[in-house]
Structures are given as structure tokens and as C-alpha cells.
Symmetry: C2
Subunit: 334 residues, 2 copies
């Protein structure tokens, strides 16, 4: 890592040595070098993805540093999982906001370290610097998969069946709960939703099944409907989904049933970090077998057809209209 000293406090170079160096991988020279060597396994390609999160946009200034680190990591692992890749390495650019303290960095490193262990990824290095305002964390994640088996969002075919992992909309409702914009929520539901917003669960477990069976796949970060539109546009297909087939948690189901706005929130809100998967009908049985014992649900929610666009049908078979199908991560919400 490069050193960018802050003369009034412990230097960032020292911070790196103290908090990040202890958990780096082989080839990273204890973070004493500016770069790291990655030796690919035989027959494997690397998959690279880079998602950044910024204070006031993707997280709140007073979110815990451990959680911020873990969110920054997990949004990237979610992308790798959707490509069928096994996460291997991460590189970190840590932009310290004006309010940084050594304690903040220590907690951030602790959170990152725990997740690196939990997800078997190695920190290769990166950069620490100061910004003129808030914190910005940019993680680049690298995974591995057998050469030629990368699963893009461009190859969904008419006739394919559309699946989704986990529950849709908890993250978007969690953001509202975090902002105290959800009334009449019990403590338990509130805690559940906020946790789902703060700490995405990357669906690494399903990577092998995606690699084996999926025609296309992508993670949902900006809303089910909008991201499905992107998949359809990229594959030049259309999709029809039924609301009654979309998996909701008990908490969000209760909100959707009691408040009409909530359906819009859960279908077009951000921060799901679940995965959309398309499967050729001939492979559906084998795919469903393969995912039947996962720690999360994998539900069939619709079908892919020719043409373009996404239609969402309500329980009466009517097409639901949306003002906006993607979540806007830029500012107004925080």
C-alpha cells in the first residue's frame, strides 16, 4: 500500500502495518509492497469486479465501521457469486473521511478481517488515503472459474425459466427502517430488516450450480424489476413474472399486505444482493435438485420470452406499472 501520512495522527502507513498487514495473503509481501502477485490455478480464469460505496450514498456516517467494511466486501462477492466464480482475492482502496480515527480504522480492519476469513478471500493490498469529506471504500474482488465457463447476463434465451435467490425487498425496507420511515414496526422486524440492509449475504453457495446450469445470471443491487430489465436488454429477451411467485420474508410480506406503497419498494428498491438466474427448461429439474439444500431459498418467479421489456403481473393478473424500476443510490435518500 502507499503511505499517505496524516501528520496529526498515526500515519496511514503505520495503520496499514498495524491493522491490515496481519491478515494478508501469500504473494502480498505483508502489504509492504505496492502490488501483489496472483498465480492463477491451472485451467482457471480470473473474474474481476469492482464496486465502491460512499458515505451518505451507500451507507450512513454512523454505521459501524465493521459493518461498512463487510458491506463494501460483500457487494463485490455478490457479483462474483452471480458469475459462477469462487472468490479468491480482494484489493482495498480506503478513503478516510475527515472524521477518521484510529479506532474507526481498527474496527473497519476487524470487520474486513472477519469476512476475509469467513469467505476465504485474501487481501492483496491497495491504498489508503484521505478525502476532503466522507468515507469512500472501493474494493476490487477477484474470483476464479474454469476458463470459458463465465456466466454473463447476455445469454438468457426465450423459453428459459427465471429464478431468484432469497427474499426480495428486505434491503430496501431495511433502509426505510434505518431512516425511521417505517411506522408500526415491531423491534424484532425492525432489527431484522436493518440487518438485511446493512449486511448483505452474498450467495456464494450457489456459484457451482450457476456455473453448471445457468444461461445468464446477475446480482440484484438496484431493484428486482430494474435489474431484470438490464438482464433482458443485455440478452435481447423479455421477461414475465408473477408477484405471487416472488419470495418475500414474513416481515416484508406483512408490510406489503398492509401498505400499498411497500410493494413498489420491495420490487424496485435497492440493496437486495440476491441473484437472478435463467435456466434452460431441460435443466430445471437438475438445477432445482442442486439448490434444494441451500441455506436460502431459490424460487422460480417467471419466464423468459422473445421481444423486450419486463412485465410484472399482480394477483389479479394485471400488469403493474412502475414510475421508476431501479433504485436511485445517489443522495436524495440519505
Amino acid at each position: 500500500m502507499n503511505s499517505r501520512q496524516n501528520s496529526n495522527r498515526i500515519s496511514e502507513f503505520s495503520l496499514i502495518g498495524k491493522y491490515f498487514a496481519p491478515f494478508v495473503g501469500n504473494g502480498s509481501f505483508g502489504l509492504q509492497d505496492d502490488a501483489a502477485e496472483i498465480v492463477p490455478s491451472k485451467g482457471m480464469s480470473l473474474v474481476i469486479t469492482q464496486d465502491a460505496i460512499a458515505e451518505g450514498i451507500h451507507f450512513f456516517a454512523d454505521d459501524g465501521p465493521m459493518l461498512i467494511a463487510q458491506k463494501a466486501l460483500r457487494v463485490n462477492l455478490s457479483d462474483l457469486a452471480a458469475k459462477g466464480a469462487t472468490p479468491k482475492y480482494i484489493s482495498l482502496a480506503l478513503g478516510l473521511g475527515k472524521s477518521w480515527s484510529e479506532e474507526w480504522v481498527a474496527d473497519f480492519a476487524k470487520g474486513l478481517r472477519e469476512d476475509c476469513t469467513a469467505f476465504s478471500v485474501q487481501l492483496t493490498g491497495g491504498d489508503t488515503f484521505t478525502t476532503d469529506a466522507g468515507f469512500v471504500i472501493s474494493i476490487t474482488a477477484i474470483g476464479e472459474l474454469p476458463t470459458g465457463q463465465y456466466v454473463s447476463r447476455l445469454e438468457a434465451k426465450p423459453g428459459d425459466v427465471l429464478y431468484v435467490t432469497g427474499y426480495i425487498g428486505d434491503g430496501a425496507l431495511g433502509l426505510l427502517a434505518r431512516q425511521n420511515k417505517l411506522d408500526g414496526l415491531g423491534n424484532e422486524d425492525r432489527t431484522y430488516l436493518i440487518d438485511r440492509y446493512l449486511l448483505p449475504q452474498p450467495r456464494i453457495e450457489i456459484s457451482p450450480a450457476i456455473l453448471k446450469f445457468a444461461t445468464a445470471s446477475m446480482d440484484i443491487s438496484d431493484g428486482l424489476v430494474g435489474d431484470l430489465e438490464k438482464l433482458c436488454n443485455a440478452s435481447e429477451v423479455s421477461a414475465n413474472i408473477d408477484v405471487k411467485n416472488i419470495p418475500f420474508s414474513t416481515t416484508s410480506m406483512r408490510l406489503v399486505e398492509s401498505e400499498s406503497n411497500s410493494l413498489n419498494t420491495v420490487l424496485t428498491g435497492g440493496d437486495d444482493y440476491e441473484i437472478l438466474i435463467t435456466i434452460n427448461p431441460a435443466d430445471c429439474e437438475a438445477f432445482e435438485d442442486a439448490v434444494s439444500s441451500m441455506s436460502f431459498s431459490v424460487k422460480r418467479i417467471g419466464t423468459i420470452s422473445g421481444g423486450q421489456g419486463v412485465k410484472v403481473f399482480d394477483t389479479d393478473g394485471q400488469v403493474i406499472e412502475f414510475n421508476k424500476t431501479s433504485y436511485d443510490h445517489s443522495g436524495e435518500n440519505h
Copy 2:
């Protein structure tokens, strides 16, 4: 790339399609996917590095967007060059500051595109987002080298000869010129120095010679003396250098001779992006032959010994004392 829409202006997803997609590499799916596949060449390892630059810290708000893009890229290519790696891919996290405009993004993309062509690197993807204040650009660069030949900063040995590329201190003086803190500077000198500050010249050309001959190598981003200290600490050696052997441009030589403060600035100031290289004495002749026809100078400036620390001798053979040996990139200077 992920889309982070800004509802009042053209969405970032559209921006990506319009300005960045046209120049992406194979395996990147025209930036329509969240990730990209990298197929390593046979017998080659990948080298990964990630340096970020932030408005108000590493560049000025009113620097040209093309130059900002190129600086963000080049500081990373400089790291790869120092490791003996050939640059291949970059991933971009572009944090748009509050003042962003489509024109800014168009110019930024133009600058990046020109440099991607000039340095034969492919954009694999990344992320565009908004920040709550200034622009932040985090580029991850990936290069290739034969497996096992990575050149770190940890293997300099007593007896090695120390070399440096290019001229030292122009970047630091360029920053002062950019801030109108250098008096009595002619227009030509001023333009030369500011250009050296704004637009680093990564020394890619010397990578093969580093790979073949260097025992250790690193790029100088935070000052010659401070970065040499880091190399010495990492290798557990010491270094002695003579000021009279350090290469200065005609412009900076004039400033150093006319103003006593300038020597301190050029030896400990940031933004050189030149490379420190240590060579076993038995290889010096072959190394000097190999670098004799480069487009920049490669000068012998000192020697590596046992023990620790860096001593810089002035023209009278006296050791120069520095208050601070590394440049502080965090805020006070801008």
C-alpha cells in the same frame, strides 16, 4: 458496471454506455455485465495494484478531467512498471463529485480512452457512483509477468547499486508552481513543472530490464528519501546516496541552486513516479547496457549496505538532515 442513477441528469448507466463502453476489452461484455473474465497467458502470473486519487488531496477541482483520468491511471501503471509487469487491464471506480456534469464525464472518458490506447490496457469494467462531496477515482490495474519473477521491494542486498529513472523533484515543484508558490519562474519552466505534476510518465519501458536484473524495485510517489527508506526497511538494509548523483531537470536544478528550500522539496516531495531500482554489482554493466537507449535517463545514485536508514550526502560530503522524509498527501497542501 452498476447503475447509480442521478434522477436530474442523464443516468450513470447511460453515461457508461455512451462514454466508456466503446473502448472496453474482450471479456468485458461491452460493460453490460457486472464483472469481466481475465484469461491469463500461459506461464504468466498477474500483478495487481490499486491506487486512488481524491479531489482536494491528489488533484485540484479545476484540473482538466482528461488529466485527472490519466493521472489516476498512470499512478497505477507506475506501480506495475516497478514490479516488472506489463500492464494489461484496468478496472475503474469513478466517484462523481457533487459538481459532475455530462461534459466532465465525457472528457474524463476521453482522457482515459487515449491512455488505454497509448499504454495498451483494456478497461474491464468497474463502478460509477456519486459522492457527498468531491470526485474520487480508484483504479485497479492488473499486469502480467512470468510466474515467479515478480520484483518486490524486499530483496535489496548489501553491495547492490541503487539506480533511479528520470528526474527527481519536478512533480513536487510542479505542485508548488500549480499553487503559485514558486516565484520568479518563467512561463516555459512553469508549464514544464506543472505538466510533470499533472501528468506522470509511467516508466513502462524499463519493466523488462527490471524483470531481468533488479533485486528490488519500487516507484517513488511520496518522495525519494522517504520511499527509499521504505525500500530499505522492507529489505532490512541501508542506503547511502550522493546529492551530486541525483538527476535533476534543468529547471529544478536552477531552483535548487538559487533557493535553499528547494533541495528539501525535490528530495522529499511527492509525485515523482520515477522508479528506484537495486542491482547486484555483477549485473550493473548488463543493466546499464539494457537501459542505455531508453527515452529517459537511468542514473546510479548510491549504494546499498547492511544496517538500516538512508543517508543523503551533500556536495561537501556532509549528511543532510530532513524534518520529514515523505510527502504528506493529506490535505494541508491543497
